[in-house]
Assembly symmetry: C2
Homo-oligomer: 358 residues x 2
Amino acid sequence: MSKVTSRVSGELTVLNEDPLVAGTPLSTMDSEETPARSFFVRNHFPIPSLDISNWGLSVTGEVERPLRLNYDDLKRLPSKEIGALLECAGNSRATVQPPIEGLLWDHGGVGSARWAGVPLRAVLERAGLLTTAKEVLLEGADHGKERGEAGELSFAMSLPMDKALHPDTLLAYEMNGEALSPEHGYPLRVVVPGWYGMTSVKWLANIKVLDHPFDGFHQTRYYVYVEEGAENGSPKERVTSLQVKSFITWPDRGHLLVAGRHQIRGVAWSGRGPVSKVEVSTDDGRTWLDANLEDSKSPYAWQRWGFSWEADRPGYFLLRARATDREGNVQPAKAQWNYRGFANNSIHAVPVEVRSDR
Amino acid sequence: MSKVTSRVSGELTVLNEDPLVAGTPLSTMDSEETPARSFFVRNHFPIPSLDISNWGLSVTGEVERPLRLNYDDLKRLPSKEIGALLECAGNSRATVQPPIEGLLWDHGGVGSARWAGVPLRAVLERAGLLTTAKEVLLEGADHGKERGEAGELSFAMSLPMDKALHPDTLLAYEMNGEALSPEHGYPLRVVVPGWYGMTSVKWLANIKVLDHPFDGFHQTRYYVYVEEGAENGSPKERVTSLQVKSFITWPDRGHLLVAGRHQIRGVAWSGRGPVSKVEVSTDDGRTWLDANLEDSKSPYAWQRWGFSWEADRPGYFLLRARATDREGNVQPAKAQWNYRGFANNSIHAVPVEVRSDR
């Protein structure tokens, strides 16, 4: 029997208990900042238990001065705060057809928060990069087994140098003004704005500057796009930048509305520049009208939008929202299928019923 | 927050606790008879508690002799045993795009069993039908509230006279040779072979012969096909006969197979005559080959099928199975969308990975 478990626990929809996987309810996405208690969690392994007094971040590999920084050392470095959305690469997998095994995320694998910490660049500069540096490996303290792999693995992903040195790639110790919670990576996690969440490594333990491409399981065999018919030894494209996407956060599917004027609300984002337009259809995609799109305080956070709908005819309606980013990327009706159902950004559709107010 | 709960409990995948909704795992569909403990449950209201010593079935309305039959009375009537599959009208709803609210059945809302009991016809004949009889209303002892409806409802559905008088429409007190369990309708349930499960009313309490069409919530407002854009007062077609359908029961999605010969297995059924052909594709629907289809002992049960696959190339494959019934109905790639996601019989697809045996 496939291990599919899901329940609503407090403010998260739990898909799996251990490792914890839990989603943000759509209805709570209706704010600029997602509270930590409602912010999705996608762990690969059990949450590591850490003793903060012994904890340290090591920086090794192709550097002039290997470092070991404790929590206080990090807090003393110049800090930065960035608003950034994180989305799980598998978010919206449940709407991919045919679906793939495992975590059937509905739409809950996304949240937007304020992160404070030290730019990864500042730490790398302190260590001094050698000219042989090719990639920066980020290794979490979490570890365990993965299907079809021998032995135990740590969760680890690498960044190319341009992304590692980007001034907004953060080693974050705070989320929405508070220390990270254990589920969100206490004491330290990476935040890579604009990319899917898999490189925003939690419980960060080691930074290793490599002189070669990293070949770990999650990087080259898991978080990759696999087409139908692909051979399983062949190299595959990594999942990186967020696709342009939007959700309707109100109404929820199946809602019963009284005939009249209603404000359809939602959020939109893209890893390839801000969203420039959100259109809404209330007739199953036959006609589209522009929504009112708010700017966000940060280019990496989601943007909220609203649309005033004169729902004067009782009946059954399919609401859809479609975002376009400044580069001209538009959400497709159906995203290209891939074996793990990653990066699905097909247009969100919400069926609702309108009844006359008798 | 939408009330979505799901967990694996024993041999069922629980989607909702109370009223209980729980699915048959695909892997346990691989037998002619689904055990009661693995047989799906789709309750609308809490399971009614009954005192069998006081229990009785009433037969009233357009009849010459209103009846009240107790459990022993029923057991003394001539009995019949029928193999029949039951499928929830909402089965496979999770693969409908856009999905609709509520019970996101994956594929677990189906099971096939042996039912023993008294033909409904025999009971109606004992009561003596008046010429004014138009429909037979079947009312369960379960009751509760439904969204948007005032007051409490009993679960109740009617049958047209031809279906009510069909010799295989059963008032069943046994499932697979044992008394019904509480979840499956103890002491008495209806079994309407060839129709979706909603008219196979459980905990049957009253049979009312009507001289007019029944207008209950579940019959005319819930278990109906609603198109996008439909007005909500307009009459809608009832969900009745089972669509032709098949499932791959092995392998399950995401399975890792060692390169070599494998037996793909599955089940197939139709409410419109036996299944005449099952075809299998291992290349995402580009080519199709006939599977070996077994006959079943009953025209209302599912038929098992197998297909020998020479999986000699390592890689990622999409397996599909497509059934055709004797009337020529074929499963579609994508079924027609309807607001409640009923009667989805689109082709089942299962992504698997084949690895060489290194």
